[in-house]
Symmetry: C2
Subunit: 154 residues, 2 copies
């Protein structure tokens, strides 16, 4: 039974939809206008020394401007790639603006990443943020979409 559990994702609930855009301020204003709310302030992801961001196994100087709409159980995350190579920039360059990922909150990141790799879905980017860490999974060939795993440090 434990083995079975370890071969599945720790959650089935989407908690975030991440949209890669060219101009986070412009898109945030458009969503805010539609929702009848004030546009959220974007913030820049931390520098490499803080986030330990790695893209395709290598450290990268990539950062991103992020803006969030948190209404209801699912957050809409707007992402404007900045700087070096990243899964965000790669998506923008190859697909244009669009939904880059759906996110799930999990525990035991290393075990989940290893499980996904066994299923042929390797992590393409990993990093830390204040209070947690994330991995983007190259699951588009199997699932039609990139997964993001989020883990909050407890």
């Amino acid at each position: 039974m434990a083995e079975q559990i370890s071969e599945t994702l720790g959650s089935r609930e989407v908690v975030q939809v991440g949209i890669v855009v060219r101009d986070v301020e412009k898109t945030a204003r458009a969503f805010a206008d539609l929702f009848g709310v004030e546009a959220p302030q974007w913030r820049m992801t931390g520098p490499q020394e803080e986030t330990h961001i790695r893209y395709r196994g290598q450290p990268t100087s990539a950062r991103a401007k992020l803006a969030f709409f948190r209404y209801g159980p699912v957050a809409i995350e707007l992402i404007e790639p900045v700087g070096g190579p990243s899964t965000w920039q790669e998506f923008l360059d190859t697909k244009g603006e669009g939904v880059h990922h759906i996110a799930f909150m999990i525990q035991d990141m290393d075990a989940q990443v290893a499980m996904l790799e066994r299923k042929g879905m390797p992590a393409v980017q990993r990093g830390d943020y204040k209070g947690g860490c994330y991995s983007y999974i190259d699951s588009a060939p199997q699932l039609g979409v990139i997964l993001e795993l989020l883990e909050h440090f407890t």
Copy 2:
């Protein structure tokens, strides 16, 4: 005040993430394997006489095979386009597999569609389903993603 309300979307809560795929059975099996559940059975959307589907203002023979994963408050909808022209087929042809839309549950479809059109976001496809109706909004230039409005008939 009423005027203000009419110029905003009737909901800020994402209820569905719609992913266009080439083979709904294959993708449904991959999600099911990941979630540790049985693969859901896909179903075909109804024929034009039932759904009154219109794409870019014209009736179309397009249908789609749909499969749903309903865990937590947001459904993952897998969509395999079948037949004539549709926003689903257009997305697949131009972007490849990926997240086609995020959906919001609203009331007063005609008023909401007119409001979005005033904001430069026209409806690109509309149709009925058993118990409700939907509109896809060509909001990608402004929001980076197509919106789907869903209304349940009461």
